[in-house]
Symmetry: C2
Subunit: 386 residues, 2 copies
């Protein structure tokens, strides 16, 4: 309690930085708020703002239309019988793992899974069995790998895995595996499948029923133009009573959600952006066209796109030998690229990376993508002609 004024001066309102940059950060392109969401943020920003309207179960609130959103619109949007709002995709994954598995059970993860899938499994005390990808350069996942992993886990532990997970797409290469086939393989062994859709739901059409997925984890801050932390957990009927089991002492509270999750600004920004989010998923083909076009153009500059080709997602991973060569002699070393891009108001490639990096073309548009391509060319020219 002896926090003196000097220390406190560091806190308070802090500016974020330039606001008009062209953003190609994969973490951010799908999370930028719509105008409606920005308005909702201020309107509902106070702690517990939405609880005014709550009779004890947040997702049953009729006005604002939380009930319709959570129990009608979202299930239709992602194709699961039930949906709940969570704090994010990782929290959704943990909720499923913790409900479906017992300590010592196995979860099968794809070899491209996000670190948070590992950490969620570890928090739930599950063993992990990996399905390896084909490795460089395409990093493809063979759905039959799930059969092998399930058989291996079963023979090692004496019981089948509690769950399988597929990252759809993965967050490194933006690869979209054949989820339908993976689901079929898992179901042959009666193993339910969780799709981690942090980079898909809200960007592209995802229908869990069509894909055969039993669970969906989605991210509001990553792909649904929402102010985080917020995500979705979709569950098919068969497992809804397990994951959304209720408390014996507090009959209307769902244990796995600790009774209540996102309440206030996050949820209201998700609702605010939702009409535009639904709309943008209908134009996914244009986004894929832009991604492929961008990839082709920068490959002409000597960059090499790894992962699936032709690519099916806005998130792409590039090996970048021209930039690496420059970094060996540039004054600012491996930070030269970050500084050159910053000067040109391009945001989203991590400082210090020159050998490879990932980026996203989502919602950036042809004009801005052209500008990014031209900037890459300019930078290469500048240093190689010095």
């Amino acid at each position: 309690m002896s926090l003196d004024e000097d220390k406190l001066k560091k806190f308070g309102f802090i500016e974020r930085g330039p606001k008009d940059a062209i953003n190609i950060d994969p973490l951010q392109t799908g999370g930028i708020l719509t105008e409606d969401a920005r308005k909702a943020l201020l309107e509902w920003g106070d702690g517990y703002s939405i609880c005014d309207f709550c009779g004890g179960v947040l997702d049953l609130i009729k006005k604002p239309p939380v009930y319709e959103f959570v129990h009608e619109a979202l299930p239709e949007f992602i194709g699961t019988d039930e949906v709940r709002v969570t704090h994010g995709a990782r929290e959704s994954k943990f909720a499923v793992m913790h409900s479906m598995g017992k300590a010592g059970d196995t979860v099968v993860l794809d070899g491209l899974a996000h670190y948070s899938s590992y950490v969620a499994a570890q928090r739930a005390d599950l063993e992990i069995e990996k399905v390896q990808s084909s490795g460089h350069p395409e990093y493809n996942l063979d759905p039959e790998g799930y059969a092998q992993a399930i058989e291996k886990a079963t023979s090692q532990s004496g019981k089948p895995p509690a769950l399988a997970l597929l990252t759809y797409p993965d967050g490194n290469y933006g690869n979209l595996a054949d989820a339908k086939r993976v689901a079929d393989v898992c179901h042959e062994y009666d193993v339910p499948l969780l799709l981690n859709c942090a980079y898909s739901v809200g960007r592209m059409p995802v229908d869990a029923k069509k894909l055969g997925a039993d669970f969906i984890a989605a991210s509001g801050h990553k792909s649904m133009a929402s102010s985080g932390p917020i995500g979705l957990l979709g569950v098919q009927e068969e497992y809804a009573d397990t994951v959304f089991r209720k408390s014996s002492t507090n009959k209307n509270k769902e244990i796995e959600l600790l009774g209540c999750t996102s309440r206030g600004a996050g949820l209201m920004t998700m609702i605010a952006s939702f009409p535009q989010v639904v709309e943008r998923t209908k134009h996914w083909d244009e986004e894929v066209t832009n991604a492929r076009w961008f990839s082709e153009k920068v490959e002409e500059l000597g960059l090499i796109q790894v992962g699936q080709r032709p690519h099916n997602h806005d998130l792409m991973f590039f090996e970048t030998p021209p930039f690496y060569e420059i970094s060996k002699t540039a004054k600012k070393g491996r930070y030269f690229l970050y500084k050159e891009l910053k000067k040109r108001n391009i945001h989203g490639i991590k400082g210090g990376l020159t050998k490879y990096f990932k980026l996203s073309t989502y919602q950036v548009g042809r004009d801005n993508l052209s500008y990014v391509i031209d900037s890459f060319e300019e930078i290469i020219d500048k240093y190689t002609k010095e």
Copy 2:
């Protein structure tokens, strides 16, 4: 995906309602954003906004000063060796229970514990042993009750409880138990103590070291003028390695936090409000004076404050026989009070309650509290003189 336009029209930006009401809702008085926090909300509202500055561990970010906030200011503020930001007090409680207990272990809860403490224990598969309060009218907790509960749990299960919890204050009566004495009792049995400070940290001075608490759960949206979901988890050194254990596969990620928690608007509003939050805790005595004064005045109208007397917290529970009598014959029945208060721009007493209700005087100020008292009187007069 067949969400038609009619359905989507219901979503988008939604207004919250009148903004200038006098708010006496216990859930909300401590969570109203400061001006700085409102600015921060817009500045950092986009999903993952803060991740621009992250090298892999969010709470190590130097600029903005997340590191200093989480690792220096907050530990000093609440008196624990370590602090992490979580999604809220309930998530903090679950993290502690899940780390400290094994399935089948016991947690001791005070009889006034919030429902989320029960649900957190159930999610962690813990048995619950309750310390009963003295009941009506003061609902006091005898610290010695913890000794009895610990002994009972130990004799029943053959091992001591993994944890004890005290709600400080409880969310129904606003009672502040003798936490220091409870800690001493628990420590005599080597049982660590978690204080649920959702209604105290950010409102009043709390020093875990002075109180002897091993863990603190706090709430940003409830008591730290932050946009939720956000909370704090404070842990003393002895248990820090247990609760903040790291992943074997992802060495810098803390398992119990799934690697990362609040990122973006929530955290930045907490940082924005922090200087004012620290300052307001220094004026807690004035808040207690106001609460006692308010209680005295409404008791003159026939209301009866239950819970500790004289009261030590802004959250108070009143039995309200005058309103109950009116509700028996009033045209709008038990909703008359809600409507009368709404007309007078007073917000925060749940619709339909007339026999009893809780309210909070926190940061409402004498003038507005006078207006609330006068309104209560006016309403009673209006109906009893009809």
